[in-house]
Symmetry: C2
Subunit: 346 residues, 2 copies
């Protein structure tokens, strides 16, 4: 995971200000950004009290926003908009989440309007994956581009795409569900979290890497991994990256295979969305730019793309790590709120 962004002092910030809220199934991130996208502050994460129901959670989030604003000495009138990034499929007209997976009982609840009412400020809702992509485009690794795809590698694979400054979410909110693009139609392809086979997520998520490692362990391979897990360590991409960095060839192969699979998927993304840049974020970047293993991972992805993509496209595309880490969501939610604010002002 890339490091979070260092906030700037309020005295150096450029008004107006935007609050970003990144609603997660476990915790919610909050921050204030200035008109140039620079975080002015980042609040402590608020536990999302999913089970306590949305009215309760919205009240806590509103209280968190008010406390955060007060703490840095910002007047509520200096905040132009609140950006609220939410997971899953959204009904933007109604300002509600649609059958959100990890939010039982939240379906159809007027979360946007209730938050606006609590805060006395307009709230702009956005999809969290789109928001993260927007954040990276605004002030992260996608800065300077208007066509950015962000793949978030973790338990699953998330994706946000902005092409020509237009956020792509599709007709039913399933657009850029790129974890579910088909990369291998063979019957022996692994099963995805959605129950179907051959999807990118079944090959290149953290879950998939651990599953492949387990299969190798079961076949008596990956001795180094076996030793470390026998000693009580958890089998996860971080352990695999550590072993690869220590010179274990099997751990490295697991990582480079993952890169190859991601390459397959990105080839398809280039021929559908045609972005300027594809960014890789999330927990599973094997150390990213700061690690030789992360850099080899990225290099292997690029090689696969060169091998597979329409030649004229290969020259034009940049593949790199995301820069904002866990802050991308709230920064992007604030950025989308700013975009709407500026459009409303004309």
């Amino acid at each position: 995971m890339a490091p979070d962004v260092k906030p700037i002092p309020l005295t150096r910030a450029v008004a107006p200000f935007y609050v970003g809220v990144d609603l997660g199934g476990t915790s919610t991130k909050l921050g204030v950004v200035d008109d140039l996208g620079r975080p002015v502050c980042r609040a402590e994460d608020i536990p999302t009290a999913v089970a306590a129901g949305p009215p309760n959670s919205v009240e806590q989030i509103a209280a968190g926003v008010n406390a955060m604003i007060a703490q840095i000495g910002l007047q509520p009138t200096e905040v132009a908009r609140i950006g609220l990034g939410c997971p899953g499929i959204l009904d933007y007209q109604a300002g509600v989440m649609v059958n959100p997976t990890n939010f039982p009982g939240w379906h159809g609840f007027p979360i946007r309007d209730l938050l606006a009412e609590h805060l006395g400020m307009p709230v702009v809702m956005s999809n969290d994956a789109s928001a993260a992509a927007y954040g990276e485009m605004w002030i992260g690794s996608g800065r300077g581009f208007r066509s950015v795809v962000l793949l978030t590698l973790g338990t699953g694979i998330g994706c946000g795409a902005i092409i020509h400054n237009v956020i792509i979410e599709g007709e039913h909110g399933h657009g850029t569900e790129c974890g579910h693009i088909l990369i291998d139609p063979s019957p022996q392809a692994p099963v995805c979290s959605c129950g179907k086979t051959g999807h990118l997520e079944a090959f290149a998520s953290a879950t998939a890497v651990v599953r492949r490692a387990r299969e190798l362990l079961a076949a008596g391979k990956c001795k180094a991994v076996a030793e470390r897990t026998a000693a009580g360590e958890t089998l996860n991409p971080r352990l695999i990256a550590a072993l690869a960095e220590a010179g274990d060839p099997e751990a490295l192969e697991l990582i480079l295979d993952t890169a190859r699979y991601l390459g397959y998927g990105i080839v398809t993304l280039l021929h559908t969305f045609d972005p300027s840049v594809v960014l890789l974020g999330g927990a599973m970047t094997f150390g990213g730019n700061g690690s030789p293993i992360g850099r080899r991972f990225l290099q292997r992805i690029r090689e696969e793309i060169r091998e597979r993509a329409f030649p004229a496209l290969v020259e034009k595309i940049s593949i790199r790590f995301a820069a904002l880490g866990g802050d991308a969501g709230f920064i992007g939610a604030a950025g989308i709120a700013r975009m709407v604010h500026r459009r409303d002002r004309g």
Copy 2:
């Protein structure tokens, strides 16, 4: 190929009018449509004099447009805009084609502005695949939807996508180059027209179907195909469809395999663009809705999608044949011109 659309009489048409020009490497189609998208007339195709250079061709197209308008008794002032659909990558700012494959010497030529000058009317340039998708969305099989993907099955596989009424073309004009999405990463996957392996076009274009049939012939299979080609018939998807319709199981299998491969590709399109409807057009639809073989082809595609796509999406998507045949391009070019005209009017 679906039948062309029957023009309506001018007396029943609704002003203003739009001229659509569908520039092809061999011939150029022209037509006039009314404000509801209904063709008022379709001119004889004009041979595109590619080798004679763009000034010459543009002059011929302009003459064709003027003759067509005069023939139906339309005043030039009743034409609000000319829509010009062009193949390949376009520079919309400059109104030029960028390294067009079948148009040597046309790179960078100010085709849009020269046509406007000849006609004394504003010309709106569009990509031909996007225009065809727009035409189908306007008055064809995609009517009533705002998120449409059109796959054009022929020598290659073309694609146009409009999502939430936004035309998707990507940052470099390679967006929706869906013939080149990866559907099979295995080393034995066939080579695509672009030189890379495993792309959809290498499995599901007319070229691919003929190649697979040849491979089967070489292996001593497909006796029925062998007999007909020995008798002088050309091996093409039309022959294969005729044999399948006559009950030949191997010909049918060739068609259903093609459907399966298309299903793989469409699964990916659903998880990237998330349209309401995917339309299949072009020369290779095996008779379309009018033929039992065409209907089985479509059915097999739907089955594969049900088998492979994210379950929540399968319920929402419609897969059907396109309706406008070869007219989709000029109708859509006119439709995009109308969209720009209406935007300009505010």
